[in-house]
Point group: C3
Chain length 307, copies 3
């Protein structure tokens, strides 16, 4: 099995076997998890090409590359760049690719940007989030966190809560879960922010799912609770926000009745939707999840570069 030279545009670019293969490869990178720098990517350069602000994803890829022993070429901020002068994405990618970078990590506000970049560039392209639909390495790190906990994904009950309509994470995670067997997903959201039909149509028949509006109805069934934020401005009636906020805030009391081994996840950054009191509970996994993101990205880079 090899991922060498592969573009990662969508989570569907992986087979289930490849995903599990990556998890095992990530486990072999425990030295990185412990803060050691390896020498396996010496002389390799990844272009970090972010056309949208991002802290976690950018630092995570950068750290992964540096801990492998490689380095990055930071494209810088959009406002500071020739994009501001009206250059097309294809021209920008062609330039960066022409410089001979070993890998292009791309974040872009437009859906399809990564696909375009992958077509133009000779170097492999990793989609670090484009448009509102896909963020494959986020899905990968989410699955990896679940897998580290349960040693498998099959048969789990996963609650996904918050803004399921506009967030990249819930759709990318749904796609990823659909590659496994007997997964049941509970979509917990206010009606106007429920998961889009377009997403459901792609996972129908692969996962079982149930939409609901109240965490309390399903909390006793969940193995995983994945929390995301609701943004006031995304609501059709922003004045409803205060009311909804309480309902979609996870606190120790909202976890009452949960399974003993439930894990709570969150892509971070969080604001009020996930109480700091939960940090002290044995269920909290979101900080480990961030660390896992760095490690699984390192594994992915290593495999794509064929190291």
């Amino acid at each position: 099995m090899t991922l060498k030279g592969r573009d990662i545009v969508s989570v569907f670019d992986f087979s289930r076997d490849e995903i599990e293969y990556l998890f095992k490869k990530a486990e072999e990178l425990n030295d990185i998890r412990r803060g050691r720098t390896l020498n396996i990517a010496t002389g390799k350069l990844a272009a970090i090409t972010f056309f949208e602000p991002s802290t976690r994803t950018r630092l995570s890829f950068t750290m992964a590359m540096k801990r492998l022993g490689g380095d990055i070429l930071d494209f810088g901020e959009v406002e500071r760049t020739s994009i501001a002068k009206g250059e097309t994405l294809a021209d920008t990618i062609r330039m960066i690719d022409g410089y001979g970078v070993d890998l292009i990590v791309l974040r872009h506000p437009s859906e399809g940007a990564s696909k375009l970049a992958a077509e133009v560039a000779e170097a492999p392209v990793i989609n670090a989030g484009d448009g509102s639909r896909e963020h494959p390495t986020q899905a990968l790190l989410d699955l990896y966190t679940i897998w580290r906990e349960y040693s498998c994904i099959d048969g789990l009950n996963v609650g996904v809560m918050g803004d399921l309509k506009y967030g990249r994470t819930p759709s990318s995670l749904s796609y990823a879960l659909s590659m496994f067997s007997n997964v049941k997903v509970y979509y917990i959201a206010p009606k106007p922010l429920q998961i889009r039909e377009e997403v459901l149509s792609r996972v129908k028949g692969k996962i079982e799912y149930l939409k609901c509006e109240d965490l309390r109805e399903v909390i006793d069934k969940l193995d995983v609770l994945y929390v995301t934020r609701i943004q006031r401005e995304r609501l059709p009636h922003p004045e409803d926000y205060e009311k909804l906020k309480g309902l979609y805030t996870v606190t120790p009391s909202s976890l009452k009745g949960c399974k003993d081994n439930l894990i709570v996840m969150h892509p971070l950054p969080r604001v009020t939707e996930l109480s700091h009191e939960v940090d002290e509970m044995k269920h909290a996994r979101y900080f480990q999840q961030a660390v896992n993101g760095m490690v699984i990205r390192a594994a992915l880079i290593k495999e794509i570069l064929g190291l």
Copy 2:
């Protein structure tokens, strides 16, 4: 012949022999062109000191330094820096130089900034564009692209088109071409954006030149067509822009009647002045030109650092 320790403020800091020497040195860096990292600048640090936004020049120098095995110290953005607090350029350069960097690459909006920096700093300074007149490494990469094509510069017919008045590139290229023999330059531009007298007075007697307003009159004579952009706001009557735009846009049809081995160049980024249809033509050299920029800068850095 040695360039060790040399400041590069103007293209006139090079002799013709030195330019040709650099071309040969650049050819020896084909590993960099193929995306390999060398170990010849290990431990060397170049300060990338950009007081103006720039993508291509900044990435190109950064990439060159990293592919040589060295690293950079990124000065960051002007707004974020002590310049915003009113520090003089001399003080800033003295600070950076005091840290013991091996090289200072400077981009600045004011003419003469590089000269000042070179006087203040012990480390060699490379002008990466200052004011509207000089951008010596751009001239170098332009010449290098022509030289790679024709194995010489002497005797060629070069068309330079677009905004010749305000662009750095046309003047720097003119100065560079004036070091060679029997070069004929066609300045193709609307009258208000024609090349400045100040530039012509410096090249008079060294190159033959002709000003014209229409590419079609001279297309059959050109070995090189160098396209630059016309910015609406630079025109005395911006309402003339739409009319001029068509005349100064290069498309397959505007190349009709050209020599078989004509090459089309552009400093990039391009907007509408160079049609994407030209990309597929055998004449297109602008993407290679960008790559050549990285390679010739690597060669220059290597020679200046005496590696």
Copy 3:
């Protein structure tokens, strides 16, 4: 004596012995001063986490890390980060720490930010300036510059001039000087910008001090004159600025009557409060001071990382 793993939140985190130990360690890093890169921090990564603009401190830490042979993880600008999304500092620090960086260098506008970060993070934290009170590595480099000149700090007369109320530097320097014996500090400032009582109460009985408004009264007594800037907007009556400006501007003539071996220091950047004519005088030490900052930070990093 070891500083391995130590957090540096305040200058009081050092004993006098440790400060003098660091000076000696810094002297051993003369290769860095001469622009050579060592290999003692290979594979080490310091997170440069700056929530406020800063050029000198940021470049100085970055350069120190790179000259030791290590590398940095640049957190980027605040506006570009998840802080803008409302993440708490504790969450941000926990994320960065989770990635396994070897060191966190933090600059933050809020007092106590470094203390909080040090509590949250497993990696050692260095305060690179927080709030208006503490900037321990600035104090360290200031002392180091004095120590390099006089081989001791005890018994010296130090004038501190300018905005003593709002600047971080005068208070941090005062605290640092209070660890030595028989130091006399002259606080030279307009009344509304005099040193705060809170600072004096912490140094009372440890240093002797005297407040005055006119440099000329004390210039003949000083071994060190430390100049800082007065900002117009900090004055209760900004219209007084022009009058005060002259009084608190150091020129060759305001140094008349000074001791032969007086040294003039300034944290830089300077604007008008320190004349460029002073640069040529034998008293000027501010550019060396900036270099010393890089070297002492390298020594501190080396010791904290236990290298």
